[in-house]
C-alpha cells in the first residue's frame, strides 16, 4: 500500500525501491564482529557440534536465497541457469565475487562420485578471525558459507547437500576449506535428460 503522508523513502513499497548497485562497503571488522556474535549466540542454543553446524547452515540458507534473487536480477538480467555447470560456475564466480570480492580458488568435480562437486578456498573470509578449539574437533564455521551455497542451489532448482570441510595442505600452516556439494538424484537425472 502506498503510504500517504510518510517520508519520500516510505512512499514506495520495499519491492519498488531501487536496488542499488551493490558497490557499498562496510569494514571487514564490522562483519567479523557480527559473524562472531552469530556463532557465539548459536553456541548458547545448541547441545552439540552437529546442531551448531546446522544452525549456521540454516542462517546461511536465508542469505543464499536472497543473494540468488539479487544477483539474478542485477548481474544476469533475470536469466535462469538450467544446467549444472552453469549454476556451479555462477556460484563459483559471480556469487563469490559479489560476497567475498574474488572468485573462488577452484571448482572441481569429485572423482569418486558422479554427484559431488567441490569449491575450494585457501582461507574463507568468514574464518579469518575464527579459531576452533581442539575439543570441537572438525567443526568449521564455513558451515555458514555452505548454507549460502545450499540456499542458492535450492532456490535455483538444484537441490543438494552442502557441507564445509577443512583439508590440510602441505606447506601451508592453515588448512584450506572445501565446500562439498552433493546433488540430489533428480538433478543428475534431469541433467542426463537434457543431454
Amino acid at each position: 500500500m502506498i503510504g500517504v503522508g510518510r517520508g519520500s523513502k516510505q512512499l514506495l513499497n520495499v519491492v519498488d525501491r531501487p536496488l542499488g548497485k551493490g558497490k557499498n562497503e562496510v569494514s571487514l571488522s564490522a562483519f567479523a564482529f557480527l559473524f562472531s556474535e552469530l556463532v557465539q549466540y548459536s553456541q548458547t542454543r545448541v547441545e552439540n557440534i552437529a546442531e551448531l553446524e546446522r544452525r549456521l547452515e540454516d542462517a546461511g540458507v536465508g542469505v543464499g536465497l536472497r543473494i540468488l534473487e539479487l544477483l539474478c536480477h542485477r548481474e544476469k538480467a533475470n536469466r535462469r541457469e538450467t544446467r549444472l555447470l552453469g549454476i556451479l560456475s555462477f556460484v563459483h564466480s559471480t556469487v563469490w565475487r559479489c560476497l567475498f570480492g574474488k572468485v573462488a580458488d577452484s571448482l572441481e568435480k569429485g572423482t569418486e562420485h558422479e554427484d559431488e562437486y567441490m569449491i575450494s578456498e585457501r582461507e574463507l573470509l568468514v574464518n579469518r578471525f575464527i579459531s576452533v578449539p581442539k575439543d570441537m574437533g572438525a567443526f568449521n564455521c564455513g558451515a555458514f558459507v555452505a548454507g549460502i551455497v545450499k540456499g542458492i542451489l535450492d532456490g535455483a532448482g538444484f537441490p543438494a547437500r552442502v557441507s564445509a570441510h577443512f583439508v590440510s595442505v602441505e606447506g601451508q600452516a592453515r588448512p584450506r576449506t572445501t565446500i562439498l556439494i552433493k546433488f540430489a538424484e533428480e538433478v543428475l537425472q534431469r541433467e542426463a535428460r537434457l543431454g
Binding site: 503510504g3 510518510r6 517520508g7 523513502k9 516510505q10 513499497n13 520495499v14 542499488g20 551493490g22 557499498n24 562497503e25 562496510v26 569494514s27 571487514l28 571488522s29 564490522a30 562483519f31 564482529f33 557480527l34 559473524f35 562472531s36 556474535e37 552469530l38 557465539q40 549466540y41 548459536s42 542454543r45 544452525r55 540454516d58 542462517a59 546461511g60 536465508g62 542469505v63 536472497r66 543473494i67 539479487l70 559479489c98 560476497l99 567475498f100 570480492g101 573470509l125
Partner: protein, 185 residues
C-alpha cells in the same frame, strides 16, 4: 566542513572492507533466528541490545587502535567522534549530532544512511521490533569500556515509518577507571 569528517574517510579507506550486502544479509539472518527463537518482540529487542553490547566491548579496542584520534575532552566531542569517525570506519556511513540538552549530557545521533536495513520491511507481526537495536548495544558497550555509562536507544526508525534513524544518546555517569592493584601492596 566539520573538522572530523576527513579522518573518518581516511580511516575507512585504510581498513579492509567487504561487500555491504553480505553484512546486511547476515544481520538479517541473525534477526530472523532471534525472531524464531523468542516469542516476544521485546525479548528480541533486548537480545539484539545484548549482542550489540558484546560486540561493542571488543569493537572499542579495534576502533582505538585504528582510528588515530586523540582523547575526547568532553561528551560533545565523544558524540561527534562516534558519528563522524566511528560510523564511517565500520559502516561506511556518516551522521550528524543534534538536539543537545542544556547540560550537554544528552544528544541525538542521526544516521544519513543505514546499511543494516537495505531490503528490509517490517511485517505486521513485528511492529514493536527495533530492527537496528544492535547498534545501540554496540555504542553502549564501547562507551562503557572508556568509562562512560550511557543509555542508548532508538527514537526514530525509518522501518516504523519515521523519516530518519535517530538514536538518543544519554550520558548517565562517568565512571573513573579502577586499578586492579593497590598502591601499598
Amino acid at each position: 566542513m566539520p573538522p572530523n569528517s576527513r579522518p573518518g574517510d581516511a580511516v575507512f579507506a585504510n581498513v579492509e572492507r567487504v561487500n555491504a550486502e553480505l553484512f546486511t544479509l547476515t544481520y538479517g539472518a541473525i534477526v530472523r533466528q532471534l525472531l524464531t527463537d523468542f516469542e516476544e518482540v521485546d525479548e528480541v529487542n533486548k537480545q539484539l541490545d545484548t549482542m550489540g553490547y558484546n560486540i561493542g566491548i571488543r569493537l572499542i579496542d579495534d576502533f582505538l587502535a585504528k582510528a588515530n584520534i586523540t582523547r575526547c575532552s568532553d561528551f560533545r566531542e565523544t558524540a561527534e567522534t562516534i558519528v563522524k569517525v566511528g560510523f564511517k570506519m565500520f559502516l561506511g556511513v556518516t551522521g550528524t549530532v543534534t538536539n543537545w540538552n542544556a547540560e550537554g549530557t544528552e544528544c541525538s545521533l542521526i544516521l544519513d544512511d543505514n546499511p543494516l536495513v537495505d531490503f528490509v520491511e517490517l511485517p505486521e507481526t513485528c511492529q514493536g521490533l527495533y530492527y537496528c537495536n544492535m547498534l545501540c548495544g554496540v555504542i553502549r558497550g564501547a562507551l562503557e569500556m572508556v568509562s562512560m555509562r550511557t543509555e542508548v536507544k532508538f527514537v526514530k526508525d525509518v522501518l516504523r515509518g519515521d523519516e530518519a534513524f535517530e538514536i538518543r544518546l544519554k550520558l548517565l555517569e562517568q565512571v573513573p577507571e579502577e586499578y586492579p592493584y593497590k598502591d601499598d601492596d
